[in-house]
Symmetry: C2
DNA sequence: GAAAATAATATGTAGCTACATAATAAAGTC
DNA sequence: GACTTTATTATGTAGCTACATATTATTTTC
């Protein structure tokens, strides 16, 4: 067993994080310059730089040119979550996926939808409501608006067979996404679709995607009772 | 106005993303080798590498040694959110922050809490319930368990003045965090604290932090009606 | 012809240099 | 003394080289 030949940037990150955790560098403190840390630890400045980038990303330190690196005094909890295609999400949990189209129609966007999409004026869009099932039980209902300027091909898709969710994710990569969570009491429609009672608390995931400045779609997905969304650092 | 002297990794990322968006590289396709792309675009392989790392992080492509880079066929929506100290969150929204300690006691961890913390057997921990206010109106109630092995100094803190949330975030940096969201119907306690009716749908944010393998704290924060959590890509 | 050993290959990473950039500090100007 | 200009400095980034590593492809061996 020999000493490790080289320090990787991950090693440096772990070392610096350890020092922050054991208060060698306390919140608000200024860290040594990358160059000095590199000299001390016996690696190149680029390696320290790479490590610092990672710590910046996870919200532990703040860096400024000339100003140096500081341990954040007001750390934020920063976490990342993933929302896969709903079919895959169900299958990953070991369930059998089912899909049911509820409705499909051209409609004029009401104000809240315009706000979500950032539209200055109303537009006619394709509105699709659908139900996702896991083992024949309701899993999630979605109420979606699709901009036909960005995704005209959706008209050729048989939405009674294939979900707009899957088609869009597969065929319309976006450059920007906005995700919001909140809770609602089930009203009669969603209660019926999700086979629960009116008033039941439900998690709502609102997702809007753009390609450049052009909106593609916005969905309000309401999950069945018990649904939990997980994020990790 | 001259041509830009050099391509930055962000330029390369944008170019590759544009090609994915306009289906020059379609989902599932294999991208050129970093080296070839570098030659084509007129930059170094390291620059392409950096760009590809970013695209990998955002879930657009997948890379494997020797296997090359592929456009993901099943893209995931990957987004990051931040949870600041509650006081700062209120102040950032332009509100006046208030805090009220509800209760503080040593208790033995019940099963659900043990599960959250990953404890094999029950332990006595400090349980703190508190209310955060914005402009004198309820903003969030938290029900927190604190491991005194990891954070014994919390006993010296006057929790009727200072929130455990703020003290912990400032003094106990963690190395791992787990965040979960779900919706609940308000029961009598939370309804009373949040000044709403029993049954009202509320967003629950459950957060657990560890330092190495040792748990620090786990909180169940229930937000007042109307609360919305935002994430971005 | 199947299994094992070997070669080939694309990405991953570390080190170096050089220069860009932003923020601050110092010096100079009226 | 307040304002402007000029240095200084720490991080940010690009290019290069060299080598590590994980797969896949090929060849060898029995």
């Amino acid at each position: 067993m020999t000493v490790q030949a080289r320090l990787s940037w991950a090693d440096v990150r772990d070392e610096v994080r350890a020092r922050i955790l054991n208060r060698t560098y306390a919140p608000g403190d200024k860290l040594p310059r990358d160059e000095d840390l590199a000299a001390e630890l016996g690696c190149a400045r680029t390696t320290v730089h790479r490590a610092m980038q990672d710590l910046t990303l996870s919200g532990l330190v703040e860096r400024k040119r000339k100003g140096g690196t500081h341990v954040r005094a007001d750390p934020v909890t920063r976490a990342t979550f993933e929302i896969p295609i709903t079919r895959l999400e169900v299958e990953q949990r070991g369930g059998r996926y089912g899909y049911h189209l509820i409705s499909r129609a051209m409609e004029v966007t009401p104000l809240p939808i315009m706000a979500r999409l950032g539209l200055p004026e109303p537009a006619r869009m394709l509105r699709v409501k659908a139900l996702h099932l896991a083992d024949s039980r309701p899993y999630m209902v979605e109420d979606r608006w699709i901009d036909l300027t960005s995704a005209p091909e959706i008209l050729n898709v048989d939405l009674s067979r294939d979900s707009a969710n899957e088609w869009l994710v597969r065929h319309k990569p976006y450059s920007r996404v906005d995700v919001r969570f909140h809770a609602v009491n089930a009203e009669s429609d969603s209660a019926r679709h999700l086979a629960t009672e009116v008033g039941q608390a439900l998690l709502v995931i609102e997702r809007t995607t753009w390609i450049g400045r052009d909106p593609i779609t916005t969905v309000q997905a309401i999950a069945a009772p018990g649904y939990q969304l997980t994020a990790k650092s």
